[in-house]
């Protein structure tokens, strides 16, 4: 899969994929998108990198991890990071659910605040649901990347 064409294409396409994913994540509350879609899209970007540049290249050169040869797929520092990512995501979603309880609201209540008169955007919406969605995003990214890298390393 690693040809000049795919390398060049991937170099151009992958940043766009990541940017789109973040856009989808942030606009998800009002327009098509959301944590799940953004998570899958991010994983797709990584998948493409793995496919084109090989897993070792991505993890050693791009992300700066070190790979020990024994139990490569597990000891791999990056894979451990992925696990942390989805643990973190799960925690984030849970905490965003528990915080409302402190305010006397039911578990997982969401609220929204509009901030007016912001430069450029004019009106900015801050929805607490975005935090929950961010948790979803991290779980999806972490789990999918763990799977892809483990399967890819095989």
């Amino acid at each position: 899969m690693s040809t000049v064409i795919t390398r060049t294409t991937a170099r151009v396409v992958v940043p766009i994929i990541f940017l789109t994913a973040i856009a989808l994540l942030l606009q998800g509350h009002n327009k098509p998108g959301g944590g799940f879609i953004a998570g899958v899209l991010t994983s797709t970007g990584f998948g493409l990198l793995y496919l084109v540049y090989s897993i070792d290249f991505v993890e050693e050169t791009v992300l700066g991890g070190s790979i020990s040869k024994e139990f490569q797929h597990l000891q791999n520092s990056i894979v451990a990071d992925y696990r942390i990512i989805f643990g973190l995501g799960l925690l984030l979603s849970l905490v965003s659910g528990i915080v409302p309880i402190l305010f006397g609201l039911p578990f997982l209540s969401q609220t929204v605040v509009f901030i007016k008169h912001v430069p450029i955007y004019h009106e900015l919406e801050l929805a607490s649901a975005v935090i929950f969605d961010l948790g979803v995003y991290f779980v999806v990214v972490g789990a999918l990347l763990s799977i892809i890298s483990v399967v890819g390393a095989e």
Partner: protein
Amino acid sequence: MVSVETVIYVIVFLPFFGAIGALLLFRYLGEQIAYFCASIALVCFLGVLRLGTILKNSGPMQTTVPWIPAFDIAMRFYIDGLALLIALLASGVGILIFVFSRGYMHGESKLQRYYIILLIFMGSMIGIAFAGDLIVLFVFWELTSLSSFGLIGHYTESRSARYAARKSMLITVGGGLFLLVGFLLLGTSMNSYNLVWLLNHSTAVQKTLKSKNIYTIVVLLIGIGAAAKSAQFPLHIWLPNAMEAPTPVSAFLHSATMVKAGVYLVGRFRPILLNDAQIWTFTFAILGIVTMTVMAALAVVATDIKELLAYSTASHLGLIIAAFGFGSAVGGETGSLHILNHAAFKATLFLVAGIVAHQTGTRNLNDLSGLYKDLPITAGIATIAAFGMAGVPPFNGFYSKELFFEATVEFATHNRPIMWLFPFFAVIGSIFTFLYSIRFAGMFYGKKPEELGNIYRPSKSMLLPAGLLTLAVLVLSFIPQVITNIIVQHVFHSISLTPSHHMSVHLPTKLSPAVIMSLITIGVGVLLYPQYQRIQSVINTILSIRYITVDWWYERFIFGINHVSGIVTPIIHNGLLRTYAFWIVGATTVISLVAYILTGIDIPQFTGITITIPLLLILLVAIGAVMAIMIAPSHIAGVMTLSILGFMIAIFYILVSAPDLALTQLVVETLTFIIFLLVLDRLPAYYGDIPPGRAFRDGILSISVGALVFTTVLLATKAQPADKIADYFIKFSVPKGGGGNIVNVILVDFRALDTLGEISVIAMAGISILTLIAMRTGSEQP
């Protein structure tokens, strides 16, 4: 002043928090953790005493925290005499057991696990006692089974301990499931799981259950649950094996508390379900008396001191169950008193057994004799407790046995002559009890065999708990009326239909049938004791016919199941993915289709179809792609063609204006494609020709799956409720969720709990795959 609610919650939940504390503190305290656990038990014990004084002044108390209001299930606690007695035993004996463990478990490994499970057990046992709701009761009930499993299997390296743990788990948890069904039947037919409500409406409960013809079933189901837990015949077989556990555990769980849970259950439901239709009496009186006699006989032939005590425990629990089975007041009195009496002398005897085994290194009754010189205090303790167990006046077991004889005679005189079998078997069982009790105490007397060698005195932390329990036996023996007034009277109130009755416990003053039965018991016992070995050989001869032993059937059953799964598993799980898929998909299809046919579905009339030209084009391309997959020359081509199908579906979503679905479909499709590309070079390029038989089989399967999905879609879209939930979402998405994307608002707000569950599943899937790949051994299977 602390409120009653707080005291109750502290007693129930402190042991669980204590377990977490033990987990954290173990590395600092080491073996001293025993005293930490004992202090937790002490706090619970003091709390129970506090509740006792409140009960005396103002009667039973209850608390409620809502849990599932739709089903009237709540975290209810109800405290009356019976609940307090069981909690008193759990916490009181608990203190002594923790202290005893300090000496007994000295120098052993896995102590942290041991103490944590023991604390969890204590909390669950108190939970059972205090539960005021059927579901809460069931949850704690199963928790005790689980902790018992962990404690029996404490010596994980021992094969027999693992066998024993599994056996007890199968039987007690299995029995618990029967209990659950009984509870659900009771709860749904009465529309309440509230124990207090049921207790106050016993007539209505019986009437409703009878009108629905489920009264007998409910009684039997609860009976099975109780029998499994309290080791009643023929579900007793796990208890002798459970003696694999460390002796403090046997003393705590398998004599004083956990096995009392079944008895407690029978006592708890006695006022609700006991009536004059005699189903209750027949179920429990017969179950109890059979257990009492058979187990006493088995205890006589036991050669292991702990095994002897195990059978004896089952036998005494049989006595209590039988007593609760009789509807009479004296029956209730017997049960209430004997719960306490039995816990006192049996826990003492188990500690004695622990001391003997710990100091001599053997538990074989035939090797033990003449221990009184080396263990004088233990010998005194054992003698007192054994006399209590034998029912020799004036020791404590005598009083409850007298009451039991009285109950059987009273029942027999008011019923058909055949009922005189009850007093008859009561005496037979008691004679056996007398024999094995004396035999147990006998190991301290006579001549000490040479092989035992030097025996050292037990440590104080082992002797002290046994001494305190002996004190309890003596108190129960010499001032029974005082204890009866303080505790047993209240227990009797909670299990009885006639609470006004006043109990009186004292030595007999005149010659009644019960006194004559006691005299026969002791007289025949003394006469037969010299023939002990002959009696043993008679019983052993009977037991040598293995078909009559329950254990033989249990083994047959378990190995039979193993054998069957050994045959079935290779057929379903032969390591080939396509076989797995065939069975899973096939089974789902068959079950669903059969369910559709049985419930009589009607497929909606075909009313013509309206389709736009773009949609038609998309669907045609999709069908074309499906056709192309089947003739694809390589894997890459196949996967790419499959992607065409996926992208067509995405376009379909766009056309029916579902942009979120379309987006998801697109990215998932892309990701799947990439994953496929990652693994494709690992697959063989060519699988060989598919045999026509398998092609035919797979074809049939595909067609039925297609038919199933088609039918399901037709059925699912047919139902159009008048009040669409979509309208609610559309209306409230912006005002309540603050988002214009309804799908997303549903995901993160309206149905956020579902999403939370789903992302947990995603995380679990990730972990599972990591684990599966990590666990795989180096060799690659083709």
